[in-house]
């Protein structure tokens, strides 16, 4: 019964997202393709954060760092005339993984409140670094003249083509995180979140597993960064702004921690809601802020917990 509901949920989700471009094409509303593509890119970022936050219990308040690193990898290589996506994207993923490894190595030894502050501080360091390097536009950022080239296989300047690429990559990421969370590795990660003392007593050292998860999450978010840079054709330090980290975190919580569908649902609701509010008033954050506070106080189940078939297990 449960599995049946899950199957329907995911089938509806995939079909709705896949059919969106032709439908809005008929309605002449290309804006929605743009919006949902953005939603799906952030769903990748949120899914990667969910691996460490939801399953691993690591409250990283610096996940936007990898969005920035992935984005700048594309931007900087393009700045020097290297437009091949075959080069740019692996560099984006690899560089993000390396930085995550370094930040994780220092911060994972700390716990709780410390971990939150340290991840936030390191991300802010990267933000200031982005601002202070004038070659790449400093504060203003820089335009990406040519989007990533994939030997003519796909044209990322075509909004619909890039939409479908993002769609495939997003479901791929969600599935990957889903598999990892249920593997031996994922079980160790979740067990350490549940009871660290017990894990140590039966012989697991949580540190190395957490660091590995942190690095994987950074790498996946680096991919989201590369996609986002291609989406906006522009890269600024704002990719790494700490409010961005907070937003990604909220997507995970709003969607439902440690659920496969949660990050997508959270990204969808938060970004669509932000877009609606912003269309209504310039001061939308004055409304969003209190709503976030209320959702923390009263709505901790997350969307995945209330939509039939969206939950796990």
């Amino acid at each position: 019964m449960r599995a049946h509901a899950q199957l329907i949920f995911w089938a509806v989700l995939v079909a709705a997202l896949a059919l969106l471009p032709p439908v809005v094409g008929v309605l002449h509303e290309p804006f929605y393709v743009e919006l949902v593509r953005r939603v799906m890119i952030f769903a990748i970022a949120a899914a990667s954060l969910n691996l460490i936050l939801g399953y691993g219990g690591l409250v990283s308040f610096g996940h936007a760092a990898y969005l920035g690193i992935g984005g700048y990898a594309v931007g900087i290589l393009s700045f020097y005339g290297m437009n091949s996506g075959w080069l740019q994207w692996p560099v984006a993923i690899g560089a993000s993984a390396l930085v995550a490894l370094a930040i994780g190595a220092v911060s994972i030894r700390a716990s709780g409140m410390y971990f939150i502050m340290i991840t936030l501080a390191f991300t802010q360091m990267l933000y200031y670094l982005g601002i202070s390097i004038e070659e790449f536009g400093g504060d203003d950022g820089m335009r990406i003249k040519t989007r990533s080239q994939f030997s003519g296989l796909i044209d990322l300047a075509d909004p619909v083509a890039s939409y479908y690429l993002v769609l495939v990559l997003m479901f791929g990421t969600i599935y990957l995180v889903h598999r990892i969370a249920r593997s031996r590795f994922g079980m160790v990660l979740r067990a350490a979140k549940s009871n660290e003392a017990r894990s140590r007593a039966i012989g697991f050292s949580p540190y190395s597993y957490r660091l590995c998860a942190f690095t994987i999450a950074g790498a996946l978010c680096g991919l989201a960064g590369a996609l986002l840079a291609n989406h906006t054709a522009y890269i600024t330090p704002d990719f790494m702004h700490w409010t961005r980290s907070g937003e990604i975190m909220f997507m995970v919580i709003l969607g439902g921690v440690a659920s496969s569908a949660g990050p997508l649902l959270g990204a969808l609701v938060l970004l669509v809601f932000e877009t609606l509010l912003a269309g209504w008033t310039e001061h939308w954050q004055v409304i969003l802020g209190p709503l976030l506070v209320l959702s923390v106080i009263f709505f901790r189940t997350g969307l995945a917990g209330i939509i039939p078939g969206a939950g796990d297990e």
Binding site: I180, R184, V188, R198, A201, I202, C212
Partner: protein
Amino acid sequence: MNDMLLEVRGLSKSFGALRACDGIDFDVREGETHAVIGPNGAGKTTFISQLSGDLRPDQGSIRFAGQDVTPLRAPARAKKGFARSFQITSIYREFTALDNVALAIQAHAGHSFRFWKPARSEPALRDPARQYLDGVGLGERANALAANLSHGEQRQLEVAMALATKPRLLLLDEPVAGMGTEESQRMVTLLDSLKGRQTMILVEHDMDAVFSLADRISVLVYGRIIATGAPLDIRANTEVRQAYLGEDS
């Protein structure tokens, strides 16, 4: 000559001015059940936490199977063959009973950097886990969430997890604490069935349990071991009676 599995020499630990452990010498023979008793605040939990590697001693050494394990932390000692239960039950509450034991088996089945195959469908982890659950009498409750088990069942689960790591030495920190008579009797029967096959250190307040299970007893008072001997000798020891048993029984 060396049938000693565990040899502790001069173990000391202070918290500020309080000397919780003060030069403890302690041995466990292969196969024996060695109980540690003592009044509240005698340093029993501090002692066992140093044995398991959760606390670092200030001084002294711990040798295990002829090897110095003093510098090793808890996970490394677990790999060497230590297993423990905690004074306050420590299990994975959000997981099923079967998951709990399967995790304990996984911890001793090579590294866990395996990212793809679902762990819950691996017979190599699940089948033995079921056997250990059966072994402690929890076979029926395999798919219950650990948080939903009764207190006594959770204690049994903790023992099953410890056994699933195939330990050479089992550290039990007050295994019958907080249990009703019936539950506590079931636990004593369980531990009794392990006796002889499994080397155990038993820290316990319940004197009935201690005297029915232990081969040897050490009495810990104010961070020092004041006597070690067979249950009958300990009963007869006047110093022990004054320090401890006299007040209690």
